[in-house]
Amino acid sequence: MKAGVQDRILAMFSWGCALVLVSGLAAVLGFLLVRGAPALSRELIFGSVAPLDALLLKRQVFYGIFPAVAGTVCLVVFSIGTALPVGLCAGIWLAEYAPRLLKQIFSLVVDILAGIPSIVVGLFGFSITIFLHHFLNNRVFPCLLISALALAFLVLPYIIKTTQTAMDSLPLALRLTAPSLGASRLENIVHVLVPAALPDLASGVILAIGRCAEDTAVIMLTGVVATAGIPKSIFSSYEALPFYIYYTASEYADASELVKAYGAALVLLLICAGLFGLAHLARVWVAHRARVRT
């Protein structure tokens, strides 16, 4: 077969693969929009409560998804807030400080960790809760904190791996620039390597945010309930959108309830998009600050 024909076949195959991907995404989004858009209303989120009263926590929302939205946002913030510093530091350590053998061992451990099913992580979190309940304090129950820590554990490998890969892929010339000017290893990491790797680091964070927001298996075993209202503290039970969607879709009594589940799915998607946008803005702001601030 001639090289030109092979090129054309490869190009068509590549276009086909890209088209399948984009079509799949468009189909999912379209399906969700068609089914969920009619349900999108103030009532879906706040029920019969005035939005301002709900937002100011003056009145409880019983027939809307506002508590689930608040629970999901809290969950994502606490999980990412825990996993991000640990994951970044671990990734930087693996890329910059770890001796070769330790690096290989830890990289393998992180890969295995990434492959653990979320239900197993949920079970682990549940077991830890029972252990703490029996041996530390009998007031320890599944709660927002346990869920957030379990989710942080789940997304930690993504953050570690993307950080390590981003740091490892920086060119040697850039790595040597700051040391050649008299910078210590730490100064090189803080002032040069991390800012240079920032776009790739952000993709790891975005991936982790998405995973935290959508995971159901972990939270089912560690604290989420169908009705709890706005979480009162990190030690209380809470509601979350993925669980609300799962619960409503599997237990719905009539078609209008199912439509509410589609609406909630659309809201979850919008929250994820909002969080991705925030992560992107934070990246742009940090990169801009690093470039121009003197």
Binding site: A178, S180, L181, G182, H191, P195, A196, A290, R291
Partner: protein, 239 residues
């Protein structure tokens, strides 16, 4: 000036260098003279860049690199062993600056790029920093081209401008020795001419050791010429 040119600045004795288990330099001995341009040429992969890293211990920041032997430099108070434990590594690298083959501006603005080594050296006076940045950019023939956009990302400059920025960044600390690793290999003829003029003007203030592949360039600007081949550095004749 002629007396200064006869003064030895760097003594290299029995230097060996290994990279990734492979020996690159073996028993290298040489003297490098002050306020001269010393060129090092030779086939690719013979260890020219590695030799430069031995002169400011930059190889210590490279995985899999190992060097032995003695390098002494006269920083003004007699010859000092740069591998002595008492030698401060940041100070050494501020005295022996490096410009790499590929221009590598840091991911920050033009002004901040030049300020960076000053901050590392502990400079805090912003007015003083501004003056030093301006002087370094003028020394590198870059001030007129960037004075109106000092806050812009340095990576947006052209290749030749980026390389002059890197030279300015190395010059801002007034190094006694400037190591250049094929500084013109990725540049067009005009930029090469500008950088050669710049190097000729710089040898008044520092000693320049330059790796280059271009025989014409060696003839044009080098005072002392070396060829690195078969793990050895050999002098080939002076201008």
């Amino acid at each position: 000036m002629s007396k200064m040119k006869d003064k030895v600045k760097v003594k290299v004795r029995q230097v060996a260098f290994h990279y990734g288990g492979h020996q690159v330099l073996k028993g290298v001995n040489t003297d490098i003279f002050a306020h001269c341009i010393t060129s090092i040429s030779g086939p690719s992969g013979q260890g020219k860049s590695s030799f430069l890293t031995v002169l400011n211990r930059l190889w210590e920041s490279m995985d899999g690199a190992r060097a032995s032997g003695q390098v002494t430099i006269d920083f003004g108070q007699g010859f000092e062993d740069i591998y002595d434990r008492k030698m401060s590594l940041p100070w050494l690298r501020q005295q022996v600056g490096t410009v790499f083959q590929v221009p590598n501006p840091l991911p920050m603005g033009i002004f901040k790029n030049i300020c960076f080594p000053l901050k590392l050296a502990g400079e805090k006076n912003k007015d003083h920093m501004r003056c030093q940045v301006e002087q370094a950019l003028k020394d590198a023939f870059l001030w007129d081209e960037v004075k109106d956009r000092l806050q812009k990302d340095a990576r947006l400059l052209s290749g030749g401008q980026q390389q002059r920025l890197c030279i300015a960044r190395a010059l801002v600390l007034n190094p006694q020795i400037l190591l250049l690793d094929e500084p013109t290999s990725s540049l067009d003829e005009t930029s090469v001419a500008v950088i050669e003029d710049l190097l000729l003007s710089l040898k008044r203030q520092c000693t320049i050791i330059m790796v280059t592949h271009y025989a014409d360039q060696v003839r044009r600007i080098a005072d002392h010429r070396f060829v690195l081949s078969k793990m050895q550095l050999k002098q080939v004749g002076d201008e």
